[in-house]
């Protein structure tokens, strides 16, 4: 291969600023001496100049720019993300304890009629289990599911990586998510599995509905409403502007196993005071 052939193979790399030191010097020296290669170089440079000047035409629309700026505003974003994340972490921390307590007390009479959100959550759970309500997105990633809800619901859903970050054995897995109708608006539906049993989490804005009915139990500054609906255990509560409903048919034994797992972790101090007496 002649030197011209070598140099012409390098011309693109040179124009892309991918050559360093001696390689650059070699190309530049050759171009200064070889008219033929200099002509090829000139054509290639002209072509790339045309492409590079002509291609960049897009400017983000003002509406998009405003939305992103709002999203990046530090004080509001940090505080809100923290609040929602904290609520979600609390949900995961409390899940085994609360469901265990619901199971223990599942045969006791209700203290009041189940609220509309709890009924909707139970119905949604049953429809999903029957295969009548397929997931719109399937993922085991909390981030992917949280992102999927962006611009689909008028509140922020941010599921935590609690299990991954705690390093303990996985007690549950995420399956995916979908939108469900509630009071002429969308609520967020997230499907989990715990020991091959389905768990549903439904989230909506607290301005849309407040949890009511059932047995009321206060724990750690939150008020939980427990209901037994069609054999399901439904827990609803409100926190930081969102209303949650957690639905499962988990058996008592499974929940006790979960508590054992949690008792062996750093969460023990948090969970201990919440155990049913």
């Amino acid at each position: 291969m002649s030197q011209c052939d070598d140099i012409r193979e390098w011309l693109t790399l040179y124009l892309d600023d991918e050559l360093r030191g001696d390689e650059r010097v070699t190309v530049e020296s050759h171009l200064a001496e070889c008219e033929s290669c200099a002509a090829v170089f000139s054509r290639e440079r002209s072509f790339l100049k045309t492409v590079r000047e002509g291609g960049k035409l897009y400017v983000a629309p003002p509406e998009l720019r405003a939305k992103v700026q709002q999203m990046l505003r530090p004080s509001r974003r940090s505080r809100f993300s923290w609040m929602v994340a904290a609520a979600a972490v609390l949900l995961v921390l409390l899940l085994p304890v609360i469901v265990w307590r619901v199971v223990k007390q599942g045969n006791q009479p209700e203290k009041g009629p189940a609220g509309s959100f709890a009924l909707m959550a139970a119905e949604t759970h049953l429809r999903h289990v029957r295969g009548q309500l397929p997931l719109e997105m399937e993922s085991m990633s909390p981030q992917d599911i949280s992102s999927w809800f962006v611009n689909k619901v008028n509140f922020s859903v941010k599921l935590p990586n609690y299990q991954e970050s705690s390093g303990q054995e996985k007690l549950y897995v995420l399956e995916g998510a979908r939108l469900v109708n509630f009071q002429n608006d969308y609520a967020a539906y997230v499907a989990y599995q715990m020991k091959e049993r389905p768990i549903s989490l439904v989230i909506t804005s607290a301005s849309a509905v407040e949890p009511t009915g059932g047995e009321v139990i206060a724990a750690r500054g939150l008020v939980f409403h427990y209901n037994a609906i069609d054999g399901l255990k439904v827990l609803t509560w409100k926190d930081r502007g969102l209303t949650y409903a957690l639905v499962s048919d988990l058996e008592e034994r499974g929940q006790q196993s979960c508590i054992v797992c949690h008792e062996g972790t750093k969460d023990r101090d948090f969970i201990e005071p919440l155990k049913p007496h």
């Binding site: 693109t12 045309t50 291609g55 992102s147």
Partner: protein
């Protein structure tokens, strides 16, 4: 993450919104989907625990996030990409005192370049945008596309060859009326 860090990150990240929007249009070929993809990218970026420093390669990191978000969307969608007429306005700073005829021809040339890029197969279009429009290095492109740098070189070479074939006859026609400087 402190509020000061958030503010610094937000300000730095906003600088790339036009580039991200252009890349989103390249990926989705749909203005509405591009809009959503840009927002999802920023949501993922602000929620990420491993944010790079604003003075490191923040742009490349945002592009990686966007591409992963887009791939994730594709996996969960049945519909293919939609085509849409894009609003090709003047780029920022394009205002000029030049002869209106020359301005018109340059605008026409830009349109033809954009049309030629748009007409490329997806993988070629994407790599041309990353290198020639966004100015990423080969290694940065390899990171965004999650492929070896050698693949970047060979794919870019093929993409430019196709682009040259599609572009040169058109540019020559436009170039006919330009000054000598325009033909350099």
């Amino acid at each position: 993450m402190t509020t000061d860090n958030d503010a610094g990150f937000g300000q730095a990240a906003m600088e790339y919104i036009d580039s991200l929007y252009g890349y989103a249009l390249t990926l989705t070929r749909d203005a509405t989907e591009a809009d959503d993809l840009v927002q999802e990218t920023y949501v993922r970026a602000t929620g990420a625990g491993n944010r790079p420093d604003p003075d490191s390669n923040l742009k490349g990191w945002l592009f990686v996030i966007m591409r992963n978000a887009w791939l994730n969307q594709l996996r969960h969608k049945n519909s293919g990409p939609h085509f849409v007429e894009l609003d090709l306005g003047e780029p920022p700073g394009a205002a000029t005192q030049e002869n209106p005829h020359v301005v018109y021809l340059r605008k026409l040339e830009r349109q033809q370049v954009r049309d030629a890029i748009e007409s490329l197969p997806h993988a070629y279009r994407e790599i041309v945008v990353l290198r020639d429009i966004e100015g990423f290095t080969y290694q940065e492109i390899a990171t965004v596309l999650d492929c070896p740098a050698g693949t970047v070189m060979s794919r870019l070479g093929r993409a430019r060859e196709k682009l040259r074939q599609r572009l040169q006859p058109r540019i020559r026609r436009v170039d006919y009326g330009l000054t000598k400087e325009g033909r350099s």
